[in-house]
Symmetry: C2
Subunit: 226 residues, 2 copies
C-alpha cells in the first residue's frame, strides 16, 4: 500500500502534537497546517514549528487569517483577560468559529494536495465547553466537506479524523508518550511568554497539569514562576 | 422593529452587489465582508469597496487568507490559464473550498457582531458547476453553523441567506436594476486588468454578457477591447 497524504492541524499544543504522532503511526505522510489567527500566544506557533520537525511532518505551512481584527475572544483581543479561575458556560477564550475556519483551510489544502484525510485534535472531555470541539460539530463538518469540494462531488470526500475526541487528557498524554512525543516542546498556555513559558493559571494550563498528574508522568512544562 | 445586523459577503461582482441591495431592502444593517485570497483579479476588491459604499453598507472589511500559497485554481495560480471557451465538469477556476472558507469567516464576524444573518450570492443556474454553489452545500453549512458557534448553542443560530440561488443571471440583473444597483461599478471578469476592465472572453464575462442580453438591458461593463 502506498502511504497516503493527510493534512494535520497543528497548533503547537499538547493535543495536536499527539495527533501528529498518531497520524504518522497510522502511516500517513503528514502535511502540518498551523493557523496564525492573531492569537496572543505567538509562542504557540514557534512550538508548532518545533513539533512539526520533531514529529516527522513532510512539510509545515502557516496560514494567516486576521481574526484579531474582529476580536470577540480573550485569545485575540488583549483587552479581554484570560480567566485564571474556573468559569461556567462557554468561556471568553472561545474564538468565534475558529475550528470551522481551521477545518475549512485544511479542507482546501487537502484538496490541492489530493489528500483525503484531515486530522484535528479536538477533545470533548477536557475541552473547556467549546461548541466546535463536539462530535456533532465534527460530523456536520464531514457532511459539509462531502458537498463542498471537487473530491466530494467525485465520490471520494475528505474524512475528518479526531483520534482524541473521547480521550481524557491523561489518556492523551499516555498515548503520546508511548509514541515518543516530547511534550517539553509543546505550548498549551493561553498566555505563554515569548520564551514559551506557561502561566500555570489559565484553564489550558490547569487541564494540562492535571493531565500529567493523572497520567502519573512528570510534567515537562516550563513555567514562568516555578 | 429594530433593524438587525447582517454580514454580506461581497466580492465586487454582479451577484454579490445584487445581494447587498436585497439585504438592504429587507431592512438589514449590512456589514460587508470581502476576502482577499490572493485572487488574480485584484480589481474585484477595488470594485467591492465601491459597491459597499454605493450600496449603503454600514462598514466594509477585507479579510486576507493566503489561498494563492496553496494554489490549485486558475484564479490563484498564475501558471494556470483562465479558460476562454466553454469547458465540461468543474472548471479550473474553481477555488478549493472557497465558499466554505468565506462562509466560515462570515460566521465568525457575525458571531462577534451579534448578527444572526449571513448573505451570500451563490447561484446554481449560472454557477459554472462549482460544488460550493449548490443548495445542498448551503443547507449543510447551515447545519454546521447551528453547531459551530456560541449563538447556535444558545438557540439562535446564524441563518445563511441565498436570495439568488434559483435565479437566472437575467433575473438577477433585473432585480438589481429595480433596486438601483449600478452594475458599471462591479467587476465579474476572472482576469480583469488593473483598471477593472473585463476580458470579455472568460466564463464569468460570457455569463454576465448573456445575462444583460437576456434581460434586455444595456451592458455597462467596460471591456479591454471594445
Amino acid at each position: 500500500m502506498t502511504a497516503s497524504a493527510a493534512v494535520v492541524l497543528l497548533s503547537g499544543g499538547l493535543d495536536s502534537a499527539t495527533v501528529l504522532a498518531i497520524a504518522r503511526q497510522q502511516g500517513f505522510i503528514c502535511h502540518a497546517l498551523s493557523v496564525d489567527y492573531g492569537q496572543r500566544h505567538a509562542a504557540e506557533l514557534a512550538a508548532a514549528r518545533r513539533v512539526a520537525r520533531a514529529g516527522g511532518a513532510r512539510e509545515h505551512r502557516v496560514m494567516c487569517v486576521d481574526l484579531a481584527g474582529i476580536g470577540g475572544s480573550a485569545l485575540t483581543d488583549l483587552r479581554l483577560a484570560v480567566p485564571e479561575t474556573p468559569t461556567t458556560g462557554i468561556p471568553v477564550t472561545y474564538v468565534p468559529a475558529r475550528n470551522t475556519i481551521m477545518l475549512s483551510l485544511a479542507l482546501a489544502w487537502a484538496e490541492v494536495l489530493g489528500a483525503r484525510d484531515v486530522f484535528i485534535g479536538v477533545n470533548v472531555l477536557d475541552s473547556s465547553g467549546y461548541p466546535d470541539c463536539r462530535p456533532e460539530f465534527i460530523a456536520a463538518f464531514g457532511a459539509l466537506a462531502a458537498l463542498a469540494t471537487r473530491a466530494g462531488v467525485e465520490g471520494s470526500p475528505c474524512r475528518v479524523h479526531t483520534p482524541l475526541i473521547a480521550l481524557t487528557k491523561a489518556e492523551i498524554i499516555r498515548e503520546g508518550t508511548r509514541l515518543g512525543v516530547d511534550y517539553g516542546q509543546t505550548v498549551s498556555c493561553y498566555q505563554a511568554d515569548g520564551e514559551g513559558r506557561a502561566c500555570g493559571r489559565c484553564e489550558a494550563c490547569r487541564l494540562r497539569r492535571a493531565g500529567f498528574a493523572a497520567a502519573g508522568l512528570a510534567d515537562p512544562t516550563r513555567y514562568q514562576r516555578p
